[in-house]
C-alpha cells in the first residue's frame, strides 16, 4: 500500500501546550522526517495552525493522537501526498479562471 509522504492539516488548538511542544512530539513520530507549523489565527483562548509533515511513511493515526493529546482538533486535511516520489499540484487552464475569481 502507498505510504503518506506529505500531510497538511488545519488544526484548532488551545494555547497550551505550545506549538513548540506539539512540533517536537510530531517530529518524534516514526516515519516523520520534517514538521512545519504555521500560525494563522489567534484569540485569547485558542489558535488556528497549519501543520505540514513530510516523511517516508507518515501514520495518520499517530499524528491524530498527538494532536488530540495536545487538546487540538483536526478541522480538515488540506493536502496529502503519497507514492514513491513527492510531486506538486499540476497547473491546469481552469486554475487561471479560479485565481481570477479569487
Amino acid at each position: 500500500m502507498s505510504q503518506i509522504r506529505r500531510l497538511v492539516l488545519d488544526v484548532l488548538k488551545p494555547h497550551q501546550p505550545t506549538m513548540l511542544t506539539l512540533a517536537t512530539r510530531l517530529g518524534d513520530l516514526e516515519g516523520v522526517v520534517g514538521v512545519d507549523i504555521t500560525l494563522f489565527e489567534i484569540d485569547n483562548k485558542v489558535e488556528n495552525i497549519k501543520i505540514t509533515l513530510e516523511g517516508e511513511d507518515i501514520d495518520f493515526q499517530d499524528v491524530s493522537e498527538v494532536v488530540q493529546d495536545a487538546g487540538g482538533s483536526i478541522h480538515s486535511i488540506d493536502k496529502v501526498s503519497t507514492g514513491r516520489r513527492l510531486i506538486e499540484e499540476a497547473e491546469t487552464p481552469q486554475d487561471a479562471g479560479a485565481r481570477w475569481m479569487r
Binding site: 488551545p14 501546550p17 484569540d43
Partner: protein, 207 residues
C-alpha cells in the same frame, strides 16, 4: 514481537521529570504555589505561636503535652489546607477546562492539558497543607530536646525558632518580589510580634 529495548530506569525517571515540568509550565502553577506557600507558612507560624503562648500562660510544663498540642494543631492545619485547596483548585480548573472546550468544540478529557490540571490540583494541595504543617513541626523541635534544657527554656527557644522561620519566610518573599529581603523579613517579624503580644495580653487578661 517488538525489537525495541525497554528504556533504562534513569531514562524513565528523566522522562517522568520532563513530563512533570511540562505539566508545571502548562498549568502555570508556579505563581499560585509561591503564594500559598508563603501565606499558609505564615499562618502556620502564627497559629503555632498562639498555641505556644496559650500553653505557656496556661502553665503547661510537660514537654510531651506541648509536643502533642502542637502536632495535633499541625495535622489539623495540614489536612484543612490540603483538602480545602484541592477541592477549590479542582473546581476552578475544571471550570477553566469546560470554558476552553467551548472554544475548541472538542472534549479535553484525557489530553495533556487535563493531566496538567490534575497535577496542579495535587501540587497546590500539597503545598497548602505542607507549609503550615512543616512550620508547626519545626517550631516544636526544642521540646524534643528537654534533656538538654528545661521546658521553660524550650518555650523561649520555640518562640525564637518561630521568629527565625518568619525571618526566612520574609527573606523568601523579598527574593520573590525582588525587593529588600530584610525589609520583608522585618514586616513578617513585626506581624508575629503583634500576634504574640496580643496572645499574651489576652492570656494575662483572662488570667
Amino acid at each position: 514481537m517488538s525489537g525495541r529495548a525497554r528504556p533504562s530506569f534513569t531514562a524513565r525517571i528523566r522522562a517522568y521529570y520532563r513530563t512533570l515540568r511540562q505539566y508545571h509550565e502548562i498549568s502555570e502553577v508556579g505563581e499560585i504555589t509561591r503564594r500559598y506557600f508563603s501565606m499558609n507558612g505564615f499562618d502556620g507560624v502564627l497559629t503555632t505561636l498562639g498555641v505556644l503562648a496559650g500553653a505557656y500562660l496556661g502553665g503547661v510544663d510537660d514537654a510531651r503535652a506541648v509536643v502533642v498540642l502542637i502536632l495535633t494543631t499541625a495535622v489539623a492545619m495540614g489536612v484543612s489546607g490540603a483538602y480545602g485547596s484541592y477541592m477549590v483548585e479542582r473546581a476552578e480548573r475544571g471550570r477553566a477546562l469546560r470554558e476552553l472546550e467551548e472554544s475548541t468544540l472538542t472534549s479535553l478529557a484525557d489530553t495533556t492539558i487535563a493531566e496538567a490540571s490534575r497535577y496542579a490540583s495535587v501540587v497546590v494541595s500539597a503545598v497548602t497543607g505542607g507549609a503550615p504543617f512543616l512550620a508547626a513541626v519545626v517550631t516544636v523541635t526544642p521540646f524534643l530536646l528537654t534533656t538538654a534544657w528545661s521546658v521553660h527554656t524550650a518555650y523561649f527557644l520555640a518562640f525564637g525558632v518561630a521568629f527565625g522561620e518568619l525571618v526566612l519566610l520574609g527573606a523568601y518573599l523579598g527574593h520573590v518580589s525582588r525587593e529588600s529581603l530584610w525589609r520583608y523579613a522585618l514586616r513578617l517579624v513585626v506581624g508575629g510580634a503583634i500576634a504574640l503580644a496580643l496572645s499574651f495580653a489576652l492570656g494575662e487578661g483572662v488570667g
